[in-house]
């Protein structure tokens, strides 16, 4: 395959940045999107040019490290992570525009790499349960109704890649936060800190400069794990309950 790539190049956080056009030839349709970028970088290196910086880690679709805006779609045209996206999803001769996640809460570090520490700070604000560690309790020591367990698992699939923020016209982090809150709110272990958790996490989310949610659902469509929009409803309900219990 031969492709025209328009890639966002930005030397550092303060650089203005611009789209630069590259031609890449002889790309195998079986390559992953990141392997295609690896090939481009090898060729740039060979020519003595600066390679394109992008994030990746496991390349198995489970770590949440990679993430690119590909021709206006977070993680590209398939419902998967960028590393699990293959070039067969594109056509020969296609022009592909590659941009970093865009949100004031996710500042660009370089080229396609953004700083997603804001998500870590939201987790630090309440995305945990306080228990004494030690030997693991018996799995059946705390019974969990099956529907709650299943919903908690669905929410826990979130890998924190940030595609929801990237796809949201308001750059809102509500799907991410909704997944984390729902995960813990569905389980008995999450109950003691439930009200304090939601207020603390939402306050941190807002302070980090994410936008508000307008419920249009672009986040769920972009989510590589298919986290449903209804986790935001649970987040909203938990905040409403916190409000009426005086938090």
């Amino acid at each position: 395959m031969d492709l025209t790539l328009k890639i966002w190049r930005q030397a550092g956080p303060r650089d203005k940045g611009k789209l630069v056009t590259y031609q890449v030839e002889d790309i195998s349709p079986d390559m992953s999107f990141l392997e295609m970028l690896d090939v481009l970088n090898e060729r740039l290196n060979a020519k003595g040019e600066e390679p394109v910086a992008f994030d990746s880690d496991c390349r198995e679709g489970i770590c949440g490290m990679c993430g690119l805006m590909i021709s206006g779609q977070a993680h590209g045209p398939e419902k998967t992570t960028t590393c699990q996206l293959h070039m067969r999803s594109f056509s020969d001769g296609e022009t592909i525009t590659i941009e970093p996640w865009r949100a004031e809460a996710f500042p660009v570090i370089r080229d396609l790499v953004v700083n997603r520490s804001a998500f870590d700070r939201i987790i630090q604000a309440g995305g945990f349960i306080s228990v004494n560690t030690g030997s693991a309790p018996d799995a059946h020591a705390t019974p969990v109704p099956k529907p709650n367990a299943e919903r908690a698992f669905v929410a826990a699939e979130c890998i924190g890649c940030g595609a929801c923020v990237a796809a949201c016209p308001n750059a809102s982090g509500m799907l991410f936060m909704g997944a984390k809150v729902t995960h813990l709110s569905e389980l008995p272990q999450g109950q003691p800190e439930r009200m304090a958790r939601v207020v603390s996490m939402v306050s941190t989310h807002d302070a980090e400069g994410f936008g508000g949610c307008t419920n249009i659902g672009e986040c769920s469509k972009a989510c590589p794990k298919g986290i449903p929009q209804d986790v935001i409803s649970t987040l909203n309900r938990d905040l409403r309950m916190a409000l009426s219990s005086g938090h």
């Binding site: 328009k6 966002w8 789209l19 805006m69 021709s71 206006g72 779609q73 525009t97 941009e99 865009r102 949100a103 004031e104 809460a105 796809a167 016209p169 308001n170 750059a171 809102s172 939601v198 207020v199 603390s200 939402v202 306050s203 989310h205 807002d206 400069g209 994410f210 936008g211 508000g212 949610c213 307008t214 419920n215 249009i216 659902g217 672009e218 449903p228 929009q229 209804d230 935001i232 409803s233 649970t234 987040l235 909203n236 309900r237 938990d238 905040l239 409403r240 916190a242 409000l243 938090h247």
Partner: protein, 226 residues
């Protein structure tokens, strides 16, 4: 740190005030449809709105209670809109070169601005100024005496019907998303089925209101109501 200082609180304010508007608009639509029953029914309804609750309430008391509640709801709705809109703009200050997302949130915001301007015109038209828009119709004194005559004279004009139909289209679009959105914000859509139901309710409410309000002006324009 307080639940009151969050974007979700603003959304709740938006949702609750919005649902009050929906309740009011349904009552308003019911009143409008009385025009099909003739001048006595329509003018009688308009008068009853003012005498409702007497002698516990003064003349026009209920109407004023509603007006005050509506103004309060409008302030809440517009305040939360302005706060969330400006926050969204700041959150995505740098734009994508290629955009492939839905336009619903843009439609909601600019559609809402259009509805706000329309409501201003609508109040001038039927409540505050009551101008004689139809030169072939009754004079100002006759219009002031009969709400029915005022409505019929207005909607005999095709361009006036067009203005109101445009506003109804904007209202329908606004409600199709807004009624769903309010339910989601209130946390009533926590399952896939609940999510589908909320979307269905949103579309149903939007369709009922848009069609229900469109009937009287169209009936007048086509001479079914004179």
């Amino acid at each position: 740190m307080s639940a009151r200082n969050t974007t979700i609180f603003l959304k709740l304010l938006m949702a609750v005030t919005g649902l009050f508007f929906v309740f009011y608009v349904l009552l308003h639509m019911y009143g409008n449809l009385k025009v099909l029953a003739g001048p006595e029914a329509f003018n009688g309804y308009a008068e009853h709105l003012r005498t409702f609750g007497e002698p516990m309430l003064p003349y026009g008391g209920l109407l004023w209670i509603f007006r005050i509640l509506l103004i309060a709801a409008l302030i809440g709705h517009v305040y939360s809109m302005a706060a969330l809109w400006s926050r969204a703009g700041k959150a995505r200050a740098s734009r994508y070169a290629v955009v492939k997302t839905a336009i619903t949130s843009t439609t909601m915001r600019w559609g809402g601005v259009f509805l706000f301007l329309f409501i201003g015109w609508h109040l001038l038209h039927f409540t505050i100024v009551k101008p004689v828009v139809n030169g072939d119709g009754p004079d100002a004194a006759a219009l002031a005496a009969s709400p029915y005559a005022m409505v019929v004279a207005s909607f005999q004009l095709w361009w006036m019907v067009l203005i109101y139909l445009l506003a109804l289209a904007a209202l329908g679009l606004h409600l199709a998303h807004g009624v769903f959105s309010a339910q989601q914000t209130l946390g009533w859509t926590q399952t896939a089925a609940g999510h589908r139901r909320a979307k269905g309710i949103g579309h149903l409410v939007a369709a009922v209101i848009a069609v229900g309000f469109a009937i009287p002006p169209l009936a007048i324009l086509f001479g079914l109501v004179k």
